[in-house]
């Protein structure tokens, strides 16, 4: 093989687009012909990470399936802000389910399509972390163990945000929510509770499990593309910062997701059949304070007398992630 010099495209693949890349290597989001599956006029807050994550993921899935896609949507922020009856932002076939049964509804759609012989039409189920990790967990686990042909996408913003920021089992430790107020000897959400659903999905040994954030579009799109190449139960967990619930500036949504990844708070990886295939390595390692400080839900850790012990506990969690998922080396 002849020598292939390393090509350098100014911003590489970090930015959404890159005029120096050949068109076929550009992201779905950079195209002026992208689907905009979720249209303008939705009522998400300013700087909503979930609205962004949903467009990234569903546009990529639409591209991968040539527009042959049906989405089932749990009750969650995404449903509430996109579809106040009779108005909708969705430009794809879309069905609203109950809070807890989206996985089951999607399974039903997949079964119906199978009966009808429509192998070209693919099914996505989507919901927030409350509908996925708490209320819908039974249906989801069933969908996994039956290996139903559905891609389940969880948009994780760490709480029940549209009902007034209540705690979910995906709320991180020490975070303040309206049900875990920053009062008392151990303010904020308790340590030692909650769950990391991607790890549970991994334990089901389903064909595909991946995590992503809205801060790395190219990675997210590649994972959706890979997921749509596979048949069977697939799970994608996307971290979507929430300016309202997290209390960061609306313009810092992507920055927060980036910091979550760079500090090791949120591991970004990809696994097939229960085996981790790749991780998105940390590019510029940072202490967790950099991630915590801009968020009002952690404000009680700082101020006059910073709670050094709690910060150290959170740092220890991040360090465990870094070791466990080998985030400082690329696989």
């Amino acid at each position: 093989m002849s020598f292939q010099p390393v090509k350098f495209y100014q911003t590489g693949t970090f930015t959404v687009g890159n005029r120096l890349l050949p068109p076929e290597e550009r992201s779905v989001q950079s195209s002026s012909k992208r689907f905009n599956s979720i249209n303008s006029g939705h009522r998400a807050c300013q700087g909503c990470g979930e609205a962004l994550g949903a467009r990234y993921a569903i546009d990529a899935a639409m591209e991968a399936t040539n527009g042959q896609l049906i989405a089932a949507n749990a009750t969650c922020c995404l449903e509430v802000f996109s579809t106040p009856y009779p108005e909708t932002s969705w430009q794809i076939p879309w069905i609203h389910s109950l809070f807890g049964n989206t996985a089951a509804v999607a399974t039903g759609i997949a079964a119906a399509l199978k009966v009808k012989g429509r192998h070209d039409v693919r099914v996505v189920a989507q919901g927030g972390d409350g509908g996925t990790t708490d209320i819908g967990f039974g249906c989801l686990s069933g969908m996994f163990e039956r290996n139903d042909d559905v891609l389940y996408i969880c948009y994780d913003n760490g709480g029940y945000m549209n009902t007034g920021v209540q705690r979910s089992s995906a709320t991180p430790a020490a975070a303040r929510t309206s049900t875990t107020p920053a009062v008392g000897p151990a303010p904020g959400n308790v340590f030692g509770q909650g769950k990391f659903l991607p790890a549970i999905a991994l334990a089901h040994d389903i064909p595909y499990v991946a995590t992503a954030t809205v801060a790395d579009l190219r990675d997210l799109e590649a994972k959706v593309r890979r997921a749509m190449e596979i048949r069977g139960a697939r799970y994608l967990h996307i971290l979507v910062p929430c300016p309202l619930g997290w209390g960061h500036a609306s313009h810092d949504t992507i920055k927060m997701a980036r910091l979550a990844k760079e500090t090791g708070i949120f591991p970004v990886f990809e696994a097939e059949h229960g085996e981790i295939k790749s991780v998105l390595a940390i590019r510029r390692p940072l202490p967790v304070e950099d991630y915590l400080k801009p968020q009002k839900r952690y404000a009680h850790l700082f101020g006059q007398q910073p709670k050094v012990g709690v910060i150290a506990q959170l740092q220890a969690q991040a360090d465990r992630n870094i070791r466990k998922y080998k985030l400082l080396e690329s696989l």
Binding site: Q10, G17, A51, P243, A249, H251
Partner: protein
């Protein structure tokens, strides 16, 4: 009302919901001034020509470059690139090698024979340009572009001024100089050689509408050094000028150069190449205080030139055969000035070359009314006009920052001011954009990419020949280097704003046309501004 069971309303689109009314801050696309452009004495739009070079459109890049500076191949060799000193990329890995890309473009233009785009329609105005150095060439070029007839009168037998008679060949090969001067004459610049202008007033009366003076500074400053008859004391200007003549100057085997500027280094390095066994620079202050550029000092040291810091020459021609000089050690006082210590040393020397700076020859300006000369420099206003209406000046005779690039900048500025003056107006500089500082950018998005280092000529050949010391970049690494540009403050169409908007409120207008905001739906969250890599979006408060 023929609707399915339990359905009472038609489905509607959320497009009916104009979320733009939520907005308190509005994003605006802006162009900020990149630090390289701000630092360029010739006023080049570096970010713009690198933008074209990044996509491999070298001719377009070159055309953008020569809008401000007609001599990229020369600049790419002799400019001290203050742009690179200001480059924001320095804070990511290392500055973009702007100078080397400029040289690549200049060389490419010479190779491909690119010519300047045709000038504006002729105005019939004639402007006399005195001197064909960088200031004069630049002024003549810009005047020609504006449609005026520029006529250069040059006293020397060859054009180029200090580019030819001050800068050694190993830094600027003469083919390069000749090629860029020829492109200027092909463009319509008239150059009359060996035609010394002695009376500016007479010239003005001779059918010229304005005059630009760029006679430079080529009279060597002297220092009184008692010298025996047998010792050769020369001046640096004469030595460098002599290199362009038929017989090279005779400097001997041991050469001492007195001074600490770039000229001193040029002479010492020239002496070494002429066969001197020893070339010693004597400078009365420290290395830190040396006005010469650090990389030139470094190159000279590599070539085996020795430098005696904190030393002055007291006497030359000490021994019977004239071969020694006496130097005195200096020490810095509290204020940083060198003071004699009374400690002397003898150094063997066949010749002493004085490189103590130059003065301008202002004899042609006698009896021009209104002209003010201050400390050997002509005083000019913001548009380079002297106290005498219609007489403009630039280059070394009009300032103490004496570099080729500054001279080119003076020439451009003067040409614009002359153009305004000829139509009875006063030139005012266009307003500047605010500076694209590093804090206004989002460096996360730029891939890591270290600077490409230019090849350096082998040390032995550097000591014995006048071959060019620094090589050029080839196409692939020039492209790489151009792509390291972060496009500070100016949109480079990375699609980030278009991609990161949660409300699809950014409209992509297509290649080269950038983007626009759909204010019907923009909620003003500001993600686009935060995530713009180059800082080309600004959030401004909505008025109501």
């Amino acid at each position: 009302m023929d609707k399915p069971f339990a359905i009472t309303l038609d489905p509607g689109s959320s497009l009916a919901n104009r979320t733009g009314s939520w907005r308190t801050l509005r994003p605006e696309y802006i162009d900020r001034l990149p630090p390289c452009n701000a630092a360029c004495p010739a006023g080049e739009n570096i970010q713009d020509w690198l933008f074209h070079a990044e996509s491999g459109k070298y001719e377009k890049a070159w055309r953008s470059l020569v809008e401000n500076n007609p001599m990229p191949a020369i600049m790419g060799r002799v400019c001290y690139h203050p742009c690179e000193g200001a480059c924001n990329r320095e804070q990511v890995d290392s500055a973009v090698g702007i100078n080397s890309v400029e040289r690549f473009l200049g060389d490419e233009a010479n190779k491909q024979g690119w010519q300047f785009s045709p000038p504006a329609a002729a105005t019939g105005r004639r402007v006399l340009v005195v001197g064909s150095g960088p200031a004069g060439l630049s002024a003549a070029y810009h005047l020609t572009r504006l449609g005026h007839q520029a006529v250069i009168h040059e006293a020397a037998p060859l054009a180029g001024g200090m580019l030819r008679f001050g800068i050694p060949k190993y830094r600027l090969p003469r083919e390069v100089l000749d090629a860029e001067i020829k492109r200027l004459t092909d463009f319509g610049v008239e150059i009359h050689l060996q035609s010394k202008v002695t009376d500016v007033r007479k010239a003005l009366a001779d059918g010229f509408d304005a005059v630009f003076l760029g006679v430079g500074a080529h009279i060597a400053k002297r220092a009184y050094i008692p010298a025996g008859d047998a010792c050769k004391v020369l001046d640096a200007v004469a030595v460098l000028r002599g290199m362009e003549g038929e017989s090279t100057p005779l400097l001997g085997r041991k050469v001492v150069v007195y001074g600490g500027g770039n000229t001193a280094l040029d002479v010492a390095r020239t002496a070494k190449r002429l066969g001197a066994e020893e070339a010693i620079i004597v400078y009365r202050r420290t290395r830190k205080q040396m006005p010469a550029h650090p990389f030139e000092v470094e190159e000279a040291l590599q070539e085996g030139i020795s430098i005696k810091w904190l030393t002055t020459i007291k006497e030359a021609g000490m021994s019977e055969d004239g071969g020694d000089i006496m130097v005195e050690k200096m020490a810095l006082d509290d204020k940083g000035f060198p003071q004699p210590t009374g400690e002397f040393e003898r150094i063997a020397a066949d010749s002493v070359v004085l490189a103590l700076g130059q003065d301008a020859d202002l004899s042609l300006l006698e009896n021009v009314p209104g002209l003010v000369v201050n400390k050997g420099l002509i005083e000019v206003d913001a548009g380079m006009m002297t106290g005498h209406p219609g007489v403009f000046a630039g280059g070394d005779m009009a300032g103490l920052e004496r570099t080729v690039t500054v001279a080119v900048g003076h020439g451009k500025l003067a040409a614009r001011a002359i153009d305004a003056w000829l139509s009875g107006e006063t030139w005012t500089p266009p307003p500047r954009h605010e500076l694209a500082t590093f804090e206004r950018m989002n460096p996360w998005y730029y891939s890591d990419a270290p600077k490409t280092v230019r090849p350096v000529l082998d040390i032995i050949r550097r000591q014995s020949t006048f071959d060019e010391v620094l090589g050029g970049l080839d196409e692939s690494n020039a492209l790489f280097e151009a792509r390291r540009c972060m496009s500070c403050g100016n949109c480079f169409e990375c699609d980030n704003c278009y991609g990161v908007c949660p409300d699809n409120a950014v409209i992509k207008l297509g290649p080269g046309k950038r983007f626009k905001f759909n204010l019907d739906y923009c909620k003003g969250c500001g993600i686009c501004a935060t995530e713009c890599p180059c800082g080309a979006i600004k959030m401004v408060p909505e008025e109501n």
